[in-house]
Amino acid sequence: MITAIQTINLTKKYRTRTAVNALNMTVFQGELFSLLGVNGAGKTTTIKMLSCVLSPTSGNAVLLGDSIISNPHSVKNKINISPQETAVARNLSVRENLEMIAGIYGNDKTTAQSKADTLMSLFGLTKAAKDKTKILSGGMQRRLSIAMALITEPKILFLDEPTLGLDVLARRELWAVIEKLKGKTTIILTTHYMEEAEALSDRIGIMSNGELKAVGTVTELMLQTNTNSLENAFIALAAEMGE
């Protein structure tokens, strides 16, 4: 298996708080790796560091051969992110949002238009192509947000709580989209939903207090904690961490 992401003692400290502490984690190419953890566990900070939005205090991470410290520009050309909130340009149409992101990643107009057509078709957004995003439903905005991350054909995709706040139908629709990406794109997904992590992930990492406490498949985590569900495994690990 080829390594897509390798973190080496990746650490982020603020004045009085360590958000991520000496994180050592390996994610393989084409894998969907979920980061689970309670609020403030360090999931989003980890994603921000890996996507070169936030500089680590110490440590490093290598993404497909490029360091986030010494070569962030190369890293940025290989990745994309769908942030925690729906991050779209509200006064632009669906098509314009997609073409804008394609343009920012260096695609010419014709290529951007062609890619936008493909993504709108994949995400069921074609009918809303000319609609301003501020009038779209939450589910459609979230789908667009992920489509905007995919239009650049990233080798590594960061999905930060992609289904947060969505109703069950919209969530299942998004799961189907994410399922289609598995194997082709390396995906790091953060979520609070156990069933989501269970349904989508190849492996799961459990974070608490800025540290990665356990990594494995759902079965491995249940075996490790001698429990019969991911939720119970998570609770067991969280309780262990709290002690």
């Binding site: 940025k76 990745i79 991050a87 301003k132």
Partner: protein
């Protein structure tokens, strides 16, 4: 290409907000017409069009600060900027992308104010066109204020600082609403330490064809524009580097 795509997005965001158009264009024009109507009914030249035209144009430019500041502050508050910060867009690309689309908007806004003034008695001459060039440093100054405010403050504070404080400062301290000599003293001294009255006086001198009088005023405005823009760009770069934007 990358910066252009971002600049096009910013232009569309600004132009598609009806509040932007209403305040940036509508409000200064309403004030211009109201004060002109007032002048028409009083014998003393309190609001001569040669003062009103440059004065209201500079007042209108203060709304450019509001809109550019709001755009950046809203981008920061919605995590849209996180998406962009993870992209290959550089800090320079960000700054150019925010500034470039606003320049033609500001010049267009100034042109509309001056065209409206032509209908209210301003003489059509080459000097009217020259005013647009003379106001370029003021355009950059107000864009710089917007960039700085949007980088440091949230959208509500930008609304307060640029929407209330700056528009009032640029109005009351510009010598447009009343002759600063009538107040005199500290008020006048403070006004002449700030760039707004200098921008208006440079416009007035241009309209009057007193070209020698333009440059002392233009130096003040240009100096302020350079300082504010430099601070704004430095703060933006620092905050982006530290990911605290």
């Amino acid at each position: 290409m990358k910066t252009r795509a971002f600049a096009v997005r910013n232009r569309k965001e600004l132009l598609r907000d009806p509040l932007n158009l209403a305040f940036a264009l509508g409000f200064p024009l309403v004030v211009l017409f109201l004060l002109s109507a007032l002048q028409a009914n009083i014998p003393e030249p309190i609001f001569p069009i040669t003062t009103l035209a440059p004065g209201i144009t500079v007042f209108g430019l203060s709304f450019i600060s509001l809109f550019s500041g709001m755009l950046i502050a809203k981008d920061r508050s919605t995590l849209f900027l996180v998406r962009l910060m993870a992209s290959p867009l550089t800090a320079t690309g960000f700054i150019i992308g925010y500034i470039m689309p606003i320049i033609p908007m500001a010049i267009g806004q100034s042109a509309i104010c001056l065209i409206a003034a032509l209908f209210l008695g301003l003489n059509l001459s080459i000097n009217v066109l020259l005013v647009l060039i003379v106001f370029l440093p003021a355009v950059l100054l107000f864009i710089g204020i917007g960039l700085l405010a949007g980088t440091l403050l949230n959208d509500k504070l930008v609304g307060g600082i640029c929407g209330a404080l700056l528009t009032n400062l640029s109005a009351w301290l510009s010598g447009t609403w009343f002759d600063l000599d009538l107040v005199g003293g500290t008020f006048k001294s403070v006004a002449y330490l700030l760039p707004f009255v200098h921008a208006v006086d440079a416009g007035k001198a241009t309209l009057a064809g007193n070209y020698a009088l333009i440059f002392p005023h233009l130096l003040w405005v240009t100096g302020y524009a350079i300082v504010i823009l430099t601070i704004a760009i430095t703060v933006f770069r620092l905050k982006m580097k530290n990911a605290t934007i």
